[in-house]
């Protein structure tokens, strides 16, 4: 016997979503446009001088769930890089963008353009760690603790504005009295 822990999310539709443009990054304000071939590169692990990178196509935002969609697994790879070489390449990019120089850490994420060969030959490396960490956290909470359904919020005497915790998106109605049906967790990422 079991009972529902959450409202089941729909399976990701492969319909074209929008490229992920996280807030407070060059992708959000148009300084950088996602391009075909851009890669989402996450530092998976650091073992001594070896850095393991999880490399995926730049994600789309699934319109149905708000989750990041990295596409088919066959298009993703794991690569390794020498720590000092990757550090130099990242430092170079950070200096050009006025970002804090700091040691590489597990969980760091970069948009990499022209990913081929060693890091020194990559065309561009943009540090998006903060936004990516927030997205990973949102991925967890959207599973473990999705927001209540809209009618449940009403029952609790809350609406989205009163709760003050749910970020709205442009395509949602502005009138909280006439919300669309369905859970509100999905567009909340």
């Amino acid at each position: 016997m079991s009972f529902d822990q959450r409202t089941a999310e729909p399976r990701t539709a492969r319909a074209p979503g929008r490229p992920w443009r996280p807030a407070d990054t060059p992708l959000a304000d148009g300084r950088l446009e996602p391009a075909a071939g851009d890669r989402y590169v996450a530092v998976d692990r650091i073992d001594g001088t070896v850095v393991t990178l999880a490399v995926a196509p730049w994600p789309l935002v699934d319109g149905a769930t708000g989750r990041l969609d990295f596409g088919p697994v066959r298009n993703r790879v794991t690569r390794t890089a020498t720590a000092d070489r990757l550090q130099r390449r990242v430092d170079q990019d950070r200096a050009e963008r006025g970002q804090l120089r700091r040691p590489l850490r597990v969980g760091d994420v970069f948009l990499v353009r022209g990913l081929a060969g060693p890091p020194s030959r990559w065309a561009a490396v943009v540090d998006l760690t903060r936004a990516s960490r927030l997205a990973a956290k949102a991925a967890l909470f959207a599973t473990a603790a999705p927001a209540p359904l809209r009618d449940e919020l009403r029952t609790y005497g809350l609406d989205r504005r009163a709760a003050g915790v749910v970020r709205t998106t442009d395509d949602e109605p502005s009138d909280p009295e006439e919300p669309p049906p369905g859970p509100i967790a999905y567009p909340a990422i």
């Binding site: 079991s2 999310e9 990701t12 995926a56 760091d108 960490r133 990973a136 599973t143």
Partner: protein
């Protein structure tokens, strides 16, 4: 990295792995997935349903666990689709920590077994930025019934005849995740699985506790020195009280939760994964290491870790000659035979009966599925 010494082919005897399992046995698979981890535990057969239930611990590569699980269903060990006992037949999936080599195939496992088969999912709560982590969270969210939990040390869950105890991470480590103040390997959920666990027999004259000759597994995930230091604190060795007063009150009977029959060595035999005192406390009868033949990218298993394990199993302070890994019952998923072709021995299946193990090999490469019909029994 010290490459495992090839094992005599003649000591691997063809047999019927499925037929070799008895109802109360604990059955454990360490899959050959290269430089990654994928494990499956078959709990003892339910006397009511006649089927076993499955605990999955990590899915480091796609394409390995779903075919194995389907093979176990076809073999009649796990309830088939449509059978009432199929619901909840995977009572627990554990992602020990969100490194790619532990969760790359996790979304595939979850998606492959819908329809209420999966009851519960544990991970340490360490949110990682890699794509597989997002995939895993999305796959759970697609199934409304899956309980999601983040256990820490001391948490205990009973499933049928088995008891599962979480050894790590300590809550002290868990509370540092949000600042990334914990090394991701030290976030690992390590587990102790015991079956049959102590039971209470219902008796109209008063229920009675019964302790069985049980089988014990410790699955070390990728926990490293810091995490194990908390484990050693959280699970101290308690000496038995031998006083008359103690016996009269039936207290202080003493136990060592870390004592085990089978140890799956943490972190593929990384030098940071085990230490001498820890392995001495565990004192495993059988030690298993998931690794690749040439050490892979990271040179696992490290000779330091190998020597620590060997020393714990056979102290050489007396000057005696070191036994071989096989004689110490240390086995690797990267083991090969001593044939000229050096055939891969591949995935490991362990049948544990009252704490006594038998070891089976399936001859699969990391990229191949496990064929239960190809099981060969290691003869000691």
């Amino acid at each position: 990295m010290a490459r495992p010494i090839p094992l005599p082919a003649k000591r691997h005897v063809a047999g019927d792995f499925v037929a070799a399992t008895a109802d109360a046995d604990l059955v454990y698979f360490v899959c050959n997935v290269g430089d990654a981890d994928a494990q499956l535990v078959l709990l003892p057969k339910s006397p009511v349903s006649g089927f076993r239930r499955v605990v999955v611990v990590d899915a480091g590569k796609p394409g390995k666990l779903p075919p194995l699980l389907n093979a176990l269903i076809v073999a009649g060990l796990v309830a088939p689709d449509g059978h009432p006992d199929a619901v909840g037949s995977i009572p627990l999936i554990v992602a020990t920590h969100p490194h790619q080599d532990h969760i790359e195939g996790m979304a595939e496992v979850i998606d492959s077994f819908a329809g209420g088969r999966i009851a519960e999912f544990w991970d340490p709560g360490y949110w990682h930025t890699i794509d597989s982590y997002h995939d895993t969270m999305a796959a759970i969210a697609r199934q409304s019934q899956i309980v999601y939990a983040q256990p820490t040390s001391g948490f205990r869950r009973w499933i049928g005849l088995a008891a599962i105890t979480v050894l790590s991470p300590s809550v002290q480590l868990r509370n540092r995740f949000d600042t990334y103040g914990t090394e991701i390997n030290d976030a690992s959920i390590s587990l102790r699985i015991e079956a049959p666990a102590i039971r209470a027999f219902r008796d109209p004259d008063g229920n009675r506790m019964v302790r069985f000759d049980s089988s014990r597994l410790i699955l070390g995930a990728d926990a490293q020195t810091l995490s194990w230091s908390y484990v050693l604190n959280d699970f101290p060795f308690l000496a038995a009280t031998t006083t008359e007063q103690g016996r009269m009150l039936d207290v202080g009977s003493g136990t060592d939760v870390l004592r085990t029959n089978v140890l799956k060595v943490s972190h593929h035999g990384s030098k940071h994964g085990v230490n001498l005192e820890l392995v001495e406390r565990m004192s495993p009868d059988l030690t298993l290491i998931s690794s690749v033949p040439e050490g892979g990218t990271y040179g696992f298993p490290h000779e330091v870790a190998q020597e620590v394990i060997r020393e714990a199993l056979q102290s050489t302070t007396s000057g005696q000659r070191r036994k071989s890994d096989a004689r110490l019952s240390i086995f690797y998923t990267s083991d090969t035979t001593d044939d000229p072709g050096r055939l891969a021995l591949g995935s490991i299946g362990v049948i544990l009966r009252r704490g006594v193990w038998s070891l089976w090999r399936f001859g699969d490469k990391a990229s191949q599925q496990i064929d239960l019909a190809k099981g060969r029994l290691w003869t000691r």
